[in-house]
Symmetry: C5
Subunit: 288 residues, 5 copies
Amino acid sequence: MIWHDLRDSHDSELDALAERYHLHPLHIEDCRHRNQRAKVEDGEGYLFVVLKPAHINRAGELEITDFDLFLGRDYLITVQEGECPSLRTNIDKLHASVDRSRPDQLFYKIIDAAVDAYAPVLDWYNEAIDEIEDKVLEKPAPDTVQRIFDLKRGLIELRRILTNMRDVASHLQREETDLIQRDLVPFLRDVYDHVARAVETVEMHRDLLAGAMDIYLSSVSNRTNQVMKVLTVLGTIALPSIVISGFYGMNTKDLPWIESPHATIVAASLMVITTAGLLAVLKKFDWF
Amino acid sequence: MIWHDLRDSHDSELDALAERYHLHPLHIEDCRHRNQRAKVEDGEGYLFVVLKPAHINRAGELEITDFDLFLGRDYLITVQEGECPSLRTNIDKLHASVDRSRPDQLFYKIIDAAVDAYAPVLDWYNEAIDEIEDKVLEKPAPDTVQRIFDLKRGLIELRRILTNMRDVASHLQREETDLIQRDLVPFLRDVYDHVARAVETVEMHRDLLAGAMDIYLSSVSNRTNQVMKVLTVLGTIALPSIVISGFYGMNTKDLPWIESPHATIVAASLMVITTAGLLAVLKKFDWF
Amino acid sequence: MIWHDLRDSHDSELDALAERYHLHPLHIEDCRHRNQRAKVEDGEGYLFVVLKPAHINRAGELEITDFDLFLGRDYLITVQEGECPSLRTNIDKLHASVDRSRPDQLFYKIIDAAVDAYAPVLDWYNEAIDEIEDKVLEKPAPDTVQRIFDLKRGLIELRRILTNMRDVASHLQREETDLIQRDLVPFLRDVYDHVARAVETVEMHRDLLAGAMDIYLSSVSNRTNQVMKVLTVLGTIALPSIVISGFYGMNTKDLPWIESPHATIVAASLMVITTAGLLAVLKKFDWF
Amino acid sequence: MIWHDLRDSHDSELDALAERYHLHPLHIEDCRHRNQRAKVEDGEGYLFVVLKPAHINRAGELEITDFDLFLGRDYLITVQEGECPSLRTNIDKLHASVDRSRPDQLFYKIIDAAVDAYAPVLDWYNEAIDEIEDKVLEKPAPDTVQRIFDLKRGLIELRRILTNMRDVASHLQREETDLIQRDLVPFLRDVYDHVARAVETVEMHRDLLAGAMDIYLSSVSNRTNQVMKVLTVLGTIALPSIVISGFYGMNTKDLPWIESPHATIVAASLMVITTAGLLAVLKKFDWF
Amino acid sequence: MIWHDLRDSHDSELDALAERYHLHPLHIEDCRHRNQRAKVEDGEGYLFVVLKPAHINRAGELEITDFDLFLGRDYLITVQEGECPSLRTNIDKLHASVDRSRPDQLFYKIIDAAVDAYAPVLDWYNEAIDEIEDKVLEKPAPDTVQRIFDLKRGLIELRRILTNMRDVASHLQREETDLIQRDLVPFLRDVYDHVARAVETVEMHRDLLAGAMDIYLSSVSNRTNQVMKVLTVLGTIALPSIVISGFYGMNTKDLPWIESPHATIVAASLMVITTAGLLAVLKKFDWF
């Protein structure tokens, strides 16, 4: 068997292969325009599959690329659009075993490698969400919202491509074609299981993120509540003193005890007592 | 083949064509009342399709028009209701190739053009949402909510017509009719893929808008929180001074140190110390 | 053909007709108890349909009535339960054409009239929602929430009956019965299209109402925010003056510059300067 | 025919009947463990049905019981687990007509009675929600939330059992068994209709409760908003007076007009004028 | 029959069994990598089932393990991955009855035991939610949110595995295989019923948790509202006193009644009267 492993979809070799194997022009076009949906299509004498491998790039962003396969009776063409490092590493290892494999076996191994490449992405999200949860409880800040939003955006996209990938896996497993031999079916079912689990994990991540956002919002309300309490406690402490000292600050003539040498002590005691009384009331209503 | 490209649905030519090709009166009526749903219907000897092209008009609003097709064995009738500039440009270009095309090929090309016309609309929404996201984080204002709401309204409508268009594409791809030859099936599948991707994009846009609204709301809460803090800090700074100066403003006779020439300094120091103490406490609880 | 157009379901004529045409007792019972679901049921030799026409009554409330049809080979019985003015007007017009119509044609026309009667209801909701949106942005008040809630309640009910009506239309279009001739199928499909569009419109209205509620809530938060700002600005202006005048109100002997004839001007300048300084800081943080 | 109407599922008679009619041990076990799901199961020569009648008990709580039926060719066994008063009353009435009924007719009447027993439950919820809505608008209090939550809890449970009951009704209507004669089908369809309407009503109730919660929350925000306004208005009235009187309370020597006999009037006028001015500004911004 | 009850999936005995019974390498791999989805797969001459038993561990956390079964014609292999105490106890009891059972009977009993093991988990959640509800109403604190979130996380996971378990049960019940004899079908349907009820219970728990979160949030808003009221009442009591005493504290000469010996009483009365008046107004607006 022959494996044509093209790393650039604009390579003229693709045109040569298209002619040699009678590949449909629309499929060639699909290879050259990124942002296809993951899909399986029957060509004449071959099967055309678009995969959507994903990885987290150096800037900490989700990057989704396209990876196309043409499975023929005695050949396999793979076209890489965009670089997914973890998939590339796995594919490079497969070159060693090409001679001993059938095309459909190699085809399965590459799809399996693409699906395996989702695992580090999911782990990365797992960690990012754990981090967010800690942050949201300990020190919620406006940029946390931005972070939650960015993660959510990534998960929305990831969910979209994984759902399509699951359709692809389900399709392949049930495909009635003589290009894929029967002994591969359990393996394709295994791929389906992997993708289905990945979809479930993404769903769970989304639920957790929504929960983190809820915690954030409730913690902002809580903090406002705390601030209000502090303000009120301050007011409680100060107001009696202000009222009483204002009273004794009046320039009227008949202030009670004003002539007594203990007037200040009386006033100060009044201040302390009323403040203590108010604080006791607040305490009783569970404010501290 | 003959292509009747009517630009006005109230043109009397449509009546003539209806008679000549035995078009069903309900289909003619559909052409003349806008706001149909996108759909495919079998007529006697022809296929009737309603498309819903969309564009963003000069006022920056989503405008949805109707575009009807009758595909017969040797003719194609297109009826435009309302002006969609990007679709019109594409259709005008097709006139050059009419002679060499089969009716079903032209039919596909027009549907493809209508679907292509969604791309600039989606791009416009993409940009509008990016803009909103920046605004919501930097300078949230009440009119941002209005904007979010307007965009949401547009996306709701867009989603509705795209879902129907997806049904149309899916229907056409599976239609068992001899009006469409088999070699067009991969092309119709391609159209389906395009619309399906557009639906997914709109869904994602809606999720992003909902996220932007969440950020807006959380940023309003945050700002209230900030305002409260400032108010409390101000109170914290002022209250001890007010209490102490009130105390020394009393007209009682036994104020402590009142006769001392350093009483003011003592009082002022007390003010500064208590204020500093309170600020230190707030600092400790992470308020700055 | 004979059309029995009963306007009162408790009319004894219904019993006579039931006996004459062998109508099932359960169907007669359905006619006499309002609040049925819209449905199609096969009787022996006839088709029983319950429609749910709706209108907005004078009090501005959604009113839903029942309208029952029995379609036989050579007769049509319609039973009105409750008054729907717009449907009644349309039905009265049909009496003129009874003689020339087949029973199934009349049957279609009545169903079409019932579906047409939804249009003014939807328009009414459209206007009501537009009004709410304006109000919510300009002058949100607690009674707006009540209004939103009332409209929502109506839309929930409307959605419920329209969904059932859509099932009825879909059922009729696919019904394998010789009571309805084949040439009516495109017309019944048209009815289905109308109802389906009405359902979509109601869904959109619900989304818009939810959006209006969001705007309302965000505008209340915003106003609280505004009030807090005003309060804080007031505090900012007053507090320095209070602190400084309190300081100079103390009865201590060593107040700085107290003997100077310009002490007041010094104090007043201090007040103005600190207040201006604080306002400048708030300005810098975008509070005005 | 024989009707065995057991009122205690632990009655040893059930064991005797199980042996006599060869009832499956799992079905007998189901009768003796409450909290089954509503379901229909085929036994050998009989049909086993679990119903879930519901009522509101004296404490004003939803109580759900189990009621099991075995329909054989010439017998009917009913097993009551837990007391549902309204169902029991209806069943007791049926004893009079046993002799003249076929087993399947009695079977239908009992199911119909169980479904009828939901009506007072739904009415109770209807009233409870109306009450909540009034309360939430007039005098929202924290215990309203608790009440909303309790009602919601009940509706969640009710929805769950009604959905299962709907499946049972739909199953019975389509069941291909010679135990139920064809003439009962319209009646079973009628039962299905009843349950389906009940499900729709519960859904509507849930929507209404969610709306009531929204109103509650928005009215709490509104009240906070009101409180803030009062606080700010109070501040507005008091602050100018405090600042001005503080100014004239200073012990400095060069206070303006301090020697004039009209200084107090000047100061008081200043207080009134600034306060009035501030109130006018607030008025302009729609605060009253 | 032979039952191989392996308690360690890395036991080399598993390899021996795999060779002896021709078990598929992928199935052996599945046994050795935890975190599979619950599933049923057909092998050659055997049925492979992955169960997901769950329990609450000592730290009060949900722990989900894997449990694999291979059902052959005359053998049963069970492989335990991770320890689920309640399941283990049930399985150990089954060893006594191995000799008298058919493989499929034992197979059913083990699945039944795994499903029974969910009951204490659901009870634990039930209690935890009841506790949270009480807490949220009596003494809402930020750690309550954390607790709600943790419970929600567990329920999300539990729901995920139960949904898959339900698919497994539904699959087994309909499986067309001669490995399971017909008399087991009612028992497998019973298992399905159990899992379906468990799924419904988890759904209800999620709804209740969401409700608890709503109560929490509304109670935080309520408390803020209360704090604001206290602050405003304090202000109401203090402000008139401050304004009046400030007025009489002015050093101007023409203060009204300043020379009267009853000026203080006049001022004090004014303070009391205005404060009482304001409190009366607040009372009227339902603030206490």
